[in-house]
């Protein structure tokens, strides 16, 4: 199996892989920021208790969660031009990624906010704090700690999902291996190397999440 594995080709193509890794990191970072913004907005809309706002947000979340990301990517990629919107593959991909992850982030944030007992809000009201002050000083400091691990979990999913952008010819890590494979016809070297890179990102994020969990327990104790 491995005796035919050609490490020299991997070294030769290392700059391409590193460029792909950088592109994946960049796309994931921008996608993450977009997803957090969408998620915070959707979460606030959903728990606002204002039906006209909550209903469309719920519809958005359920629609995203019930359809595959690949279909969403194609929907935007093939669909936006017919609306007269011209976007680059990068923008389309990041848009799809942000909207997709945003729906999951919204649910995670909602679970975090709702895990805080009602009495906390009531106490804030009794102190005469405004809505924003309650959010800033009472709800968020408590909610954020517990939501960081699931948010990091969603970030791992986001990084892996960004591989799908290679299918609309966005250059990133998976695309780099496809390029190498088509030039040299060595799928084993290309795809296995890329898998190792993804695994590295996964382990970094996973240990970050574990570290935060430990810290959380210490702080509570």
């Amino acid at each position: 199996m491995l005796e035919t594995f050609n490490f020299r080709v991997i070294v030769e193509y290392l700059p391409l892989f590193l460029k792909g890794l950088g592109a994946t990191a960049w796309i994931s970072l921008v996608g993450l920021i977009g997803a957090l913004l969408v998620g915070i907005a959707a979460c606030m809309g959903r728990i606002s208790g204002w039906r006209a706002l909550a209903a469309p947000v719920v519809a958005y979340i359920e629609l995203i969660r019930s359809t595959p990301l690949l279909v969403q990517i194609y929907f935007f990629y093939f669909g936006l031009p017919s609306l007269g919107l011209r976007m680059s593959e990068y923008q389309t991909g990041i848009l799809a990624l942000s909207l997709n992850s945003g729906a999951y982030m919204a649910e995670i944030l909602r679970a975090g906010v709702q895990s805080i007992p009602q009495g906390q809000t009531e106490a804030g009201v009794a102190f005469g704090l405004s809505y924003l002050q309650r959010l800033r000083h009472i709800i968020l400091p408590q909610a954020i700690g517990a939501t960081i691990p699931p948010l990091l979990g969603q970030t791992i999913v986001l990084v892996k999902d960004s591989a799908l952008l290679s299918l609309i010819s966005v250059f990133e890590l998976t695309r780099a291996s496809q390029l190498m494979t088509s030039e040299r016809f060595m799928p084993a070297e290309g795809f296995l190397t890329v898998a190792v890179f993804y695994l590295l990102i996964y382990y970094v994020l996973k240990s970050l999440s574990a570290w935060w969990r430990r810290r959380l327990v210490h702080r509570r104790a």
């Binding site: 359920e62 990301l69 194609y74 795809f191 996964y202």
Partner: protein, 222 residues
């Protein structure tokens, strides 16, 4: 123009239903096999044998740490190099089963670990065999924790099965991709594809939510 394309799309509807059937077949077979694999791996991972636990940890990490797209490329393009030939359909099911098995393994292991150790000890004291302990005492209690995320995981796997379209399996996603080459109305074509997925996944999500509520209630009653 929209009207014209709509009629065309309506005519290709049988093609979409065929694709839907393919999605059903691929994800259904993989889910059944993946559940079997996941339960076996999960029970082994929750055991006290390190030589079972560590390789399974690694398997789960590899499956969860790499994109499914890369996994299916590895199975479909590299395995033939190593002398393992398979058709696209078999490759899709093989890779999706391995992928599903890893996630289900984690869910099952988590469920088993949530059962208090006193239960297993009591069952042992009653003289039940290891198989009986698992089958009659531990799993029935663990199922309460396992079932809601398991159904949720099924939804994720069905959605991930869209990725098998890249190796030429004509599932709904690929039918949409082929259709959009002739009917250049992406919103309409992939709107339809989305509706078809929605009709499968949304009821399952509701089912998972229902399980979750019911299991919580039962827990509270204890």
């Amino acid at each position: 123009m929209w009207r014209f394309y709509f009629d065309q799309l309506y005519q290709t509807l049988p093609f979409f239903l065929k694709g839907l059937w393919m999605t059903f077949a691929v994800s259904g077979i993989s889910l059944v096999l993946g559940t079997l694999l996941g339960f076996a791996a999960g029970i082994a991972r929750a055991s006290r044998y390190a030589w079972l636990r560590y390789p399974l940890h690694f398997y789960v990490d590899v499956m969860r740490g790499t994109p499914y797209l890369v996994q299916i490329f590895i199975v479909f393009f590299i395995f033939p190099e190593w002398g393992i030939q398979m058709t696209a359909f078999v490759a899709a099911i093989f890779s999706l089963t391995l992928y599903a098995g890893a996630y289900i393994c984690e869910i099952v292991a988590g469920g088993i670990e949530s059962v208090p150790p006193g239960q297993a000890e009591a069952a042992k004291a009653t003289g039940l065999s290891p198989y009986q302990r698992m089958r009659r005492v531990i799993l029935p209690q663990a199922m309460r924790v396992i079932l809601p995320p398991l159904v949720g995981q099924y939804v994720l796997i069905i959605k991930d099965s869209a990725i098998v379209s890249v190796i030429g399996i004509t599932d709904v996603t690929r039918v949409g991709w082929l259709t959009v080459q002739r009917i250049p109305e992406g919103l309409m074509v992939f709107g339809l594809v989305g509706i078809l997925y929605f009709s499968i996944c949304y009821p399952l999500i509701r089912l998972a939510n229902w399980f979750e509520r019911r299991m919580c209630d039962e827990g509270a009653r204890l």
